[in-house]
Amino acid sequence: MAPKQKAGQKPKPNSAEEVEETFQAVVLADTFETRFEPFTRDKPRCLLPLANTPLIEYTLEFLANAGVEEVFLYGGAHSDQLEKYINASKWRALSSPFKQLTFLKSTSTSVGDVMRDLDGKHLITGDFIVVSGDVISNLPIEGALAQHRARRALDKNAIMTMVLREAGLQHRTKSTSVSPIFVIDPTKDRCLHYEEIDRHPDDEQSSRLNIDAEIILKHPELDIRQDLIDCSIDICTPDVLSLWSDSFDYQSPRKHYLFGVLKDYELNGKTLHTYIIKDHYAARVRNLKAYDAVSKDILSRWTYPLCPDTNLLPGHTYTLRKGSMYQETGVTLARSCVIGRRTVIGKGTSIGDRAEVHNSVLGRNCKIGRNVKLDGAYIWDDVVIGDNSDVRGAIIADGVVLGKHCTIASGALISYGVKIADNIWVESGKRITKTRNDGSVGKNDPAVVGEGGEGYEFIHGEEEEDDEDDVSVASSGLVYRMPGLSLSSASISTLSSEVSNTSWARSERSSFSADEDSDNFHHDASVSLFDSLREGVAADVVQLELVTLRMSANASDNQVRRAIVTSFMKHIQQLMEGGKGAGPAVLSVFTAYKEVVERTLFDRNKEQKKDQVDLLLALQNDLIHRNKGETVLLFTAKSLYELELIEEEAYDQWWNDERSSSTEEMRAVRSQTQQFVDWLAEAEEESSEEESEEESDDE
């Protein structure tokens, strides 16, 4: 129902009525990371309970406070569950503050893909907010929004405002393994440089940040800030999306997008700004450590009004008691049990004699046995804990049954439905799950869960998760193990995702580092090529420059071709915007720089025209996102043929290559080229017929 109405709401040509535009928000329910494994095997991350309320509730509440009218929710893994949840929630009810709540599914594997998808759908009509589905904030956004709009009115190129929370050098919701560094011009609130410090101890990356000399010399005052919590609340204009589309290799919103757009300032002329808040709460539950920290903040009411006793969910009946104790009605407490400070207990939960509960969150319908000790534990719904067990600083998911005399050491994660037999000691950092990656139930491992238990130890990569994101693959099995970490109750690292964090960071790096050079190469080469084209530098000079760059980065032919394609197409587009027709624009560029393209194709005499096909694919890929891409592709194909850069066979192979028709977009962009390929095929047939005739003549 929603999408249909949407379709009618095409982006109008904005005239003076801009004031009327609805305020839209995009929620990225999946951030395409696997830091909440193994829980995320059963449930989408944004439905994981935080102080007994699913994460997504906090985010939507924040948006409602911000005055958002239309929400687009992007689901990732388990999107069916999320959709079901949303459809049943109050956000769909008549009383919902949102005029429109659209659930979008996509097959994306990164934030970048989502943004590009969004751009393709043309749903965004004006300024909008992007948040991830795990933001907890009580910030009223008006200030930031007003500033954004004022800036935008003055300068059309100010396309994005990031909301950042100022904190001290150390803060418990701050990520410790990767510190983001923002370089900001405080007089204009403009972000000029972004870099992340990877704190992995074995790190061999340079121990220095590198800020462009230009930036230093051009701005009399600059702030290097390391004390900002990036809660990923971005106020964007539609231009942000087109920039995502321009660079199809951007994946993450900060490391790639922010970094890249700032680097390319000379090219795109867009400026990104910051809005730094000093009060109000804003944090992201980005990993398990943050989960712990934010839970504590919620219990200590820093996030007010987003506290358990606000009862965000219908049916919740929490009341606040002395000492930050939150209890629902219908809790059964044994007379001799001790409930300490900072605890949340849900409806129907019973706690046995002499049990002690401190700093813990207990869901609904849990049965806590006698003499149980809970400290810093996060226990979700329907959990049964046997007598004399001891749980410290661990997360225990729905439906877990824990035997008697068990000890769960801190940092352990016990996923949905796991059963642990009596007298089991789960060492710290161990992760036990039942569900396999594909959703089926795994084989029980008595060594871990005891005789009669259900579940097995979860180790990353054990199941050949072939093409999940590279990130998850590399996260090692050691993840939540944390030897030598102080575990005082005051410490933030009771969950010790510290270690998880670092190993995650390492994995990310290892998966990206291989591409780093090439990324740089692609960037450098396309920028320099584009500049040369624009200035009309001679072909041999361009060629020389390209070779130099290529040598220094040790780039592959494929990368060179990609760089050529990106810069050529950008230039052609610019020519077209300048009033030139697609045909002449394409022809002039390729004629002038024929040599440059020719030098990247080495398969002239081979049967399989791999290089030529690759070039065509790169072209196709690039043109998906460009204006009149189909037309340009047709003309380019024609020009390349006329210039004898690409042979008939290559076109044939390309057309039949499954990559060229793998997605809807790819098919769409090549649709116009059909006629050309058909024509070619006919011509080819004729010629081959002629040849065969000749041959037969010879005989």
Partner: protein, 545 residues
């Protein structure tokens, strides 16, 4: 601004470095006769401003350091110049090895200077014109903490751009500062000072920075800097005022580090760096100094063989006298335990330092170098280190209302008794705009002159029909009939021929400009050869004190 408030002695001593003034070479070509510090700025010798400033902040122990070659003229001036004699006379030392090209840090290593430093000291250039109340600066420094014998340092920076007296292409310094933690910020009576104090973490002249940028292909920032300081501000349009309040132990640091050349770039620069860069304080032998100090204190031993017996006893005395002002302050509670509490951000319970960040340099070891970065453009601070600034500063000072006009209390510390000296004779039919001109004793201005925004020194003669706009005419100069001078500086005892038209020129001392000359942007000098050196910018000036 009240300028004669009695201030109790501070126990500090001031060293004023009277150097050769490379960048003012039009007027300092012969430092043996006429050193830079005697060049008039708004009809007072440059040195007067530094001396007056020290006097107003209550420093009585002032030492001038000058190369032996300039000693004679300097002493003569101290005895004779009416402006200088009005101030308490400073002592003058002229270390034998001090040459015109000696760096400021090298200067500190000279035995004469070493023995002269007996307490915490203030290092001043002779070309400083500063309206900021020095006592507030000292107050800020004193309560800013640092344990006994481990005092902080303080340096001052001013904005060069957007000021009335700003000139094009002015030399600037690059500095990076980090905000003081709440508990560290001293409470000072002068409110503007308080908000402007921060920790210096990097400092170098812009020229050095540009060189670095070129070599490194970008600006490299060590991670340890951002780890130690979550907020670092980079500033590129400020200028180091070369006012340094330095604790006593810096004397040893200067002595032990032979590699230091200048105070501004090396000594202060390295000190600032060592606050966050690990291991640097060892390299700079700072730790060694502190160990030695504590040992010496407990055993009552001598500092070292190089120290004379005399210096030592005085030395001990001053150390004993040292009072922990910080602990006496009622508005400030800085015991370490409070620091941790206060620096904890607004979010609830104690936060433990994550394991990965425990590698931080222990802060307690090294007293920080503080920076006072002036916000806005008032009060007035300037270093007069080039001709253009000499002119613009003088003109700016000329606009101050005189004591005669507004009375002693309301007038600025730099105000003259009257705009036109009583002994000057100004003809009836000529125009002198009184609000922006100064005319000193015994000068004559003949009929039909038009004088606007101009400073005329003592014993000058301006012949009839001359038009002077934005000019600085030094003592004893003669300007011929119907001359038109704009933006020009005329040196002492020089003579401008009649009907000469000069625009933005400099005329050297004693030079004679022929009649009917027409010139623009020229320098009239006897030694044309020196002209090349003129392009050397003020960065030289930083090194050659």
């Amino acid at each position: 601004m009240p300028h004669s408030v009695p201030v109790p002695p501070t126990g500090l001593q001031a060293l004023i470095l009277c150097g050769p003034g490379v960048s003012l070479n039009t007027f300092t070509s012969n430092p043996e006769e006429y050193p830079k510090c005697l060049i008039p700025v708004a009809n007072r010798p440059m040195l007067w401003y530094a001396l007056d400033w020290s006097k107003r902040m209550g420093i009585t122990d002032v030492t001038l350091v000058t190369p032996p070659s300039s000693l004679a003229p300097l002493q003569a001036a101290l005895r004779q110049n009416p402006h200088l004699t009005s101030l308490p006379s400073p002592s003058v030392i002229a270390p034998a090895d001090l040459e015109m090209t000696t760096g400021t840090a090298e200067l500190l290593r000279l035995p004469e200077v070493q023995s002269c430093i007996k307490s915490d000291f203030l290092l001043l250039p002779c070309d400083l014109v500063c309206e900021i109340p020095g006592e507030s600066l000292l107050e800020a420094w004193m309560v800013s903490g640092g344990e006994k014998n481990r005092r902080n340092g303080l340096s001052m920076y001013y904005q060069t751009q957007g000021r009335e007296e700003s000139v094009k292409g002015e030399a600037t310094d690059f500095l990076a500062v980090a905000p003081l933690e709440q508990s560290e910020a001293p409470t000072v009576s002068h409110a503007a000072l308080r908000s402007s104090l921060s920790k210096l973490v990097l400092s170098m002249p812009m020229a050095t920075l540009k060189e670095k940028l070129e070599n490194d292909k970008g600006f490299l920032v060590r991670h340890s800097l951002v780890d130690t300081h979550a907020q670092v501000k980079l500033l590129t349009t400020y200028r180091d005022a070369h006012i340094y309040v330095l604790p006593y132990w810096v004397k040893d640091m200067a002595r032990l580090n032979e590699q230091f050349q200048s105070v501004g770039e090396d000594l202060v620069g390295w000190w600032a760096k060592s606050e966050w860069q690990q291991g640097l304080s060892d390299k700079l032998k700072i730790n060694e100094i502190f160990q030695q100090k504590s040992r010496r204190q407990s055993h009552g031993l001598a500092l070292g063989e190089s120290e004379s017996h005399d210096g030592e006893s005085i030395d001990g005395e001053s150390l004993e006298e040292e009072i922990d002002l910080q602990s006496m302050s009622t508005t400030k509670s800085t015991p370490e335990k409070f620091i941790t509490a206060a620096s904890d951000p607004q979010f609830a319970s104690r936060v433990k330092v994550p394991a990965s960040q425990t590698v931080k340099t222990p802060k307690s070891n090294l007293p920080p170098m503080l920076a006072y970065v002036q916000k806005g453009t008032t009060p007035f601070v300037r270093r007069v280190d080039s001709s253009a600034i000499l002119l613009s500063t003088s003109l700016r000072l000329a606009k101050l209302e005189s004591i005669e006009e507004v009375g002693r209390v309301a007038s600025s510390a730099f105000a003259h008794a009257s705009k036109v000296a009583n002994t000057a004779s100004i003809a009836q039919r000529c125009t002198v705009t009184r609000n922006d001109c100064l005319v000193d004793n015994n000068s004559t201005v003949e009929e039909k002159c038009v004088i606007k925004e101009t400073i005329i020194g003592a014993n000058c003669h301006i012949a009839s029909g001359a038009r002077l706009t934005r000019c600085l005419i030094m003592d004893g100069a003669v300007v011929g009939e119907r001359c038109q001078l704009t933006g020009t500086i005329v040196g002492r005892r020089s003579k401008i021929g009649r009907e000469t038209v000069l625009k933005d020129c400099e005329v050297q001392d004693g030079n004679v400009v022929p009649d009917e000359t027409d010139a623009k942007n020229e320098k009239f000098m006897i030694f044309e050869g020196i002209d090349d050196e003129d392009d050397m910018d003020a960065s030289d000036d930083d090194q050659d004190y």
